[in-house]
């Protein structure tokens, strides 16, 4: 019951529901339905006393939290996980938006084929996919062999943040593309034409009309990808080796290597709270800018 890869998220966020706050419902539903029960259990364990002999002693304490909060190491890992989440989300957004736009605006026939291509990363199991990346990215991998053959310097692409970023973006980008494509499909192409005939160039028409109207999809997509990223375990641990430490990895290690169930649980709960807080701030900000554009 670690905070493992959450591939259970619905792939079809409600693109056309009005009121952008409803759009976080899919992400919220994932959090609530699939995490509440295990988390309640976690919550309970997190206030028990650690013990070297049993999983924990049935003695209530807040010590686990106090120790975590006071430890700067906790905060550095929290920050690093958040950073990875934001970087993956940002990279996915930048890559996904043009793709989503293209997808939403292509003729019906082509759209189906493109859709299959977009979700193809999800059709391969996480381990196989990750090993695939390892073949490409490692120091003796395809990319570096190519660089060497061309007489260039090799670039460390694995066992560092870059490798993790690439791996995470690859898996989670479909969620971003589908969220955004859904909303763009709901934006009448005639609106952009109307803007054009009123004197806006193609670029300006896009920024003033299509983009603001696609924001609900952008918000849903970014929330989804962020949540999936900060809770992912397999990709950061395989592609990151021992150099990349995120909260899920730390939670698993605390429990499986230090056998500290209460400590690991407390960390998971703490991070859950921080993630919720961050999302809350993000949605507030997004809601505000959404209203002023």
């Amino acid at each position: 019951m670690s905070v493992a890869e959450a591939t259970v998220a619905p792939a079809r966020p409600a693109g056309r529901v009005s009121g952008r706050h409803l759009l976080i419902l899919p992400a919220l539903a994932v959090l609530v339905v699939f995490f509440v029960a295990p988390y309640l259990n976690l919550l309970l364990i997190s206030v028990m006393t650690p013990s070297p002999r049993a999983a924990y002693l049935r003695v209530l304490t807040l010590d686990n939290y106090a120790r975590l909060v006071r430890d700067p190491f906790t905060w550095s890992v929290v920050w690093h996980t958040m950073w990875l989440g934001m970087a993956t989300t940002a990279l996915s957004l930048v890559l996904a938006y043009p793709l989503a736009y293209h997808l939403a605006r292509s003729p019906r026939g082509a759209r189906g084929a493109l859709m299959v291509l977009v979700i193809s990363p999800l059709l391969v199991g996480v381990l196989i996919r990750t090993y695939g990346w390892m073949i490409l990215l490692q120091d003796t991998g395809l990319i570096n062999q190519l660089l060497r053959a061309l007489g260039l310097r090799t670039v460390p692409l694995m066992y560092n943040n870059l490798g993790v970023l690439i791996g995470l973006t690859h898996v989670f980008i479909p969620f971003m593309v589908l969220s955004i494509a859904g909303t763009i499909q709901g934006v009448d192409p005639e609106l952009e034409l109307a803007a054009r005939s009123l004197g806006a160039g193609a670029w300006r028409a896009f920024w003033r009309v299509t983009f603001p109207l696609s924001l609900p999809g952008v918000i849903a997509g970014t929330v989804l990808v962020f949540v999936l990223t900060v809770s992912s375990y397999v990709i950061p641990s395989l592609l990151g080796g021992f150099t990349v430490l995120t909260i899920p990895i730390l939670v698993v290690r605390t429990i499986t290597e230090l056998f500290n169930w209460p400590g690991g649980s407390a960390l998971a709960i703490l991070f859950f709270a921080i993630t919720l807080g961050a999302l809350w701030v993000y949605l507030r900000l997004a809601g505000r800018t959404g209203r002023t554009t």
Partner: protein, 360 residues
């Protein structure tokens, strides 16, 4: 103001020829209605003028400039879309201000002009609303205001009234007409509603299957259609096949299955030619059966009432005049004729219009 000229405009989508060799002029300050049934290429034509579609062939000239290759934003066309295409995330004011902002006007000027035009179209006080908070008619006027406020060189309207209820449609017809006159703006008005075209337009251009059938003043289109298709499309009419057998003064003499009829006719009709006779139901009168021979200036046929339908101010008859011809006749409310009654059917020779029968 500028005139709009379409020269040999053609648009193909794969094998479909949506518009074929369309040549049409909208004189400066006039309103030309592009009229035709669904799928005849009206929207395609408008989209080419607005710059949304690239013509396969032909040229578009606005004033003295060839704009065929210009992008939409440099054409200065005010477009009103069939479904209005208002920006849902902007208020009425912001929608209307959009074009002015794109033209780089200063804030106070934008506000003044937006205020003026909203007042003019009767939307003063609704500026802060979002399109979804407006009725159909209000959305329609917002779309008009948004197109007019930029003082476009040509106004393009794509079935602007198609989504309104009948009563509002009637009102808006006159309203659009008066706005167009007031702004003296060159206008191409697309519609499939012939009544709308006749009421609104200085000139009506009838388009069918992507081909221009006839251009002319509303009266001319209505009374002197040049092809059977136009005659059938504009208003109600009776079409009878016939053959020109001679002339009698100003009139042509035609032999029809229902008898001999004298009619005005297109100048290119010659003796011996196959023709089509068009007689409007409202131009036909029913009387007691009397003298069957035609008097000067009046055609008279004998018939039997087959059907009688009450339409309020009118009564719609179908009268069998022999030769397998059922004539549709519209009489005034109190018309006494009953089904099965023998009647005399008469119409002026000037009200009968003969046109050449060709295929296509």
């Amino acid at each position: 103001m500028a005139s709009l000229r379409l020269q040999g405009l053609t648009k193909r989508f794969g094998d479909v020829v949506a518009v074929h060799e369309l040549t049409l002029e909208v004189p400066s300050g006039e309103l030309v209605a592009l009229l035709g049934p669904s799928g005849c290429g009206k929207t395609t034509t408008l989209r080419m003028v607005a710059g949304f579609d690239v013509p396969t062939r032909g040229r578009i000239v606005l004033g003295d400039r060839d704009i065929t290759a210009d992008p939409p934003e440099r054409r200065d066309c005010g477009m009103v879309f069939q479904h209005y295409a208002l920006f849902p995330h902007l208020t009425v004011e912001q929608n209307v201000a959009f074009g002015l902002e794109m033209r780089g006007l200063r804030r106070p000027d934008v506000e003044r002009r937006v205020g003026e035009i909203l007042e003019r179209v009767g939307l003063g006080g609704l500026g802060r609303r979002y399109p979804r908070q407006l009725s159909g008619g209000q959305q329609q006027r917002t779309a008009l205001a948004r197109a007019l406020v930029i003082s476009p060189r040509v106004l393009l309207l794509d079935e602007p009234l198609a989504n309104l209820d009948a009563k509002l449609r009637e009102e808006m017809r006159f309203y659009i007409r008066s706005l167009q006159r007031e702004f003296h703006i060159t206008t191409l008005y697309v519609t499939h509603d012939q009544a709308e075209a006749l009421v609104l337009a200085d000139r009506v251009a009838v388009l069918m299957n992507g081909r221009l059938q006839q251009v002319g003043a509303p009266e001319e289109i209505y009374h002197r259609p040049r092809t059977p298709a136009v005659a059938a499309f504009i208003g109600l009419t009776n079409l009878l096949p016939g053959r020109v057998t001679g002339r009698s003064g100003e009139r042509l003499v035609l032999e029809t299955p229902a008898g001999t009829v004298r009619a005005a006719g297109a100048p290119d009709l010659r003796e011996g030619m196959e023709a089509m006779l068009s007689v409007r139901p409202e131009h036909i009168e029913l009387d007691r059966p009397g003298e069957p021979a035609s008097r000067d200036g009046v055609n008279r046929l004998r018939g039997v009432v087959q059907e009688r339908t009450f339409l309020g101010s009118l009564i719609d008859f179908r009268v069998d005049v022999g030769g397998g011809v059922l004539l549709r006749v519209q009489g005034r409310g109190g018309a006494p004729q009953r089904v099965g009654e023998q009647v005399s059917v008469s119409f002026d020779t000037t009200a009968a219009w003969a046109l050449p029968r060709r295929e296509g």
